[in-house]
């Protein structure tokens, strides 16, 4: 968590600091799940339509999340005044994961739309990439905790499976 102080011994360094504390946020995970759910629900549409729908969904959710945070943070928070500009810039920053999380699936879909790779391959690769990101996150979390490699892998697989279930549920009920 960005605001939580961490003892120096446990503070992630180098690549781990970059990956875990800055780019891997709850919003990024949700953004990834969202794009995967959009993909799963749009399997009959052409790649370009899926791309537009996915990009628009990512953007709209980012905007909605930023709006919600702006509304809640504007005013007096912890005894200090927070204006509209400060609240909205903070909100945009804290919602950035909705935009950065789906980057990999959207880039793969873009490659499929412009025939750089086969459309069907692009669709399945984009869908799988979200789950792969979740698996990687589970493995990295175990690595940071100093777990044995097989427990890291098991943690990654469990994370990916939960993500897969959520994507399926979202695709079914959306």
């Amino acid at each position: 968590m960005r605001t939580m102080s961490t003892p120096n011994a446990l503070r992630p360094r180098g690549l781990r600091l970059l990956a875990r504390n800055e780019y891997v946020t709850a919003e990024a995970i949700y953004g990834t799940l969202l794009i995967c759910a959009v993909l799963a629900a749009a399997d009959d549409e052409p790649e370009s339509e899926v791309l537009i729908t996915g990009v628009a969904a990512s953007f709209v959710f980012w905007f909605a999340h930023a709006f919600a945070i702006t509304i809640t943070r504007r005013g007096v928070v912890d005894g200090r005044r927070v204006g509209l500009r400060g609240a909205s810039l903070d909100a945009a920053y804290h919602s950035a994961g909705f935009l950065t999380g789906p980057i990999i699936p959207i880039l793969i879909l873009t490659a499929g739309t412009f025939d750089v790779i086969d459309g069907t391959v692009a669709y399945w690769a984009a869908l799988s990439s979200g789950v792969a990101v979740l698996v990687a996150m589970g493995i990295v979390a175990g690595w940071e905790l100093g777990l044995r490699w097989y427990r890291c892998v098991l943690g990654g697989i469990a994370t990916g499976l939960v993500g897969l279930v959520i994507i399926t549920l979202k695709a079914i009920f959306d």
Binding site: R2, L18, E22, Y23, L51, I52, V55, A56, S58, F59, W62, F63, R85, L89, A92, Y93, A96, L99, T100, I103, I106
Partner: protein, 73 residues
């Protein structure tokens, strides 16, 4: 990095965010108008603007995360 740079970067990031939102909303408006007056070109332009807003916002978001990370170090 000079003292003036973070402020300028914050302004640039804010401008990019605002540009992305504006492009997206204009795109939505064009799609609606294109549908109402039955002009395909407007709808296509609106769709392209919707898609184009995303990379602008992504660039702003990445710059934002990097800038705040540097400020925190």
């Amino acid at each position: 990095m000079s003292a003036a740079e973070p402020g300028a970067l914050r302004t640039a990031i804010a401008v990019l965010y605002i540009a992305a939102i504006t492009v997206f909303l204009v795109g939505v408006a064009l799609r609606i108008i294109g549908g109402l007056v039955n002009v395909d070109a407007l709808g296509v332009t609106g769709t392209l603007m919707n898609a184009g807003a995303w990379p602008i916002a992504v660039v702003a978001a990445i710059l934002d995360v990097r800038q705040r990370r540097r400020a925190a170090l």
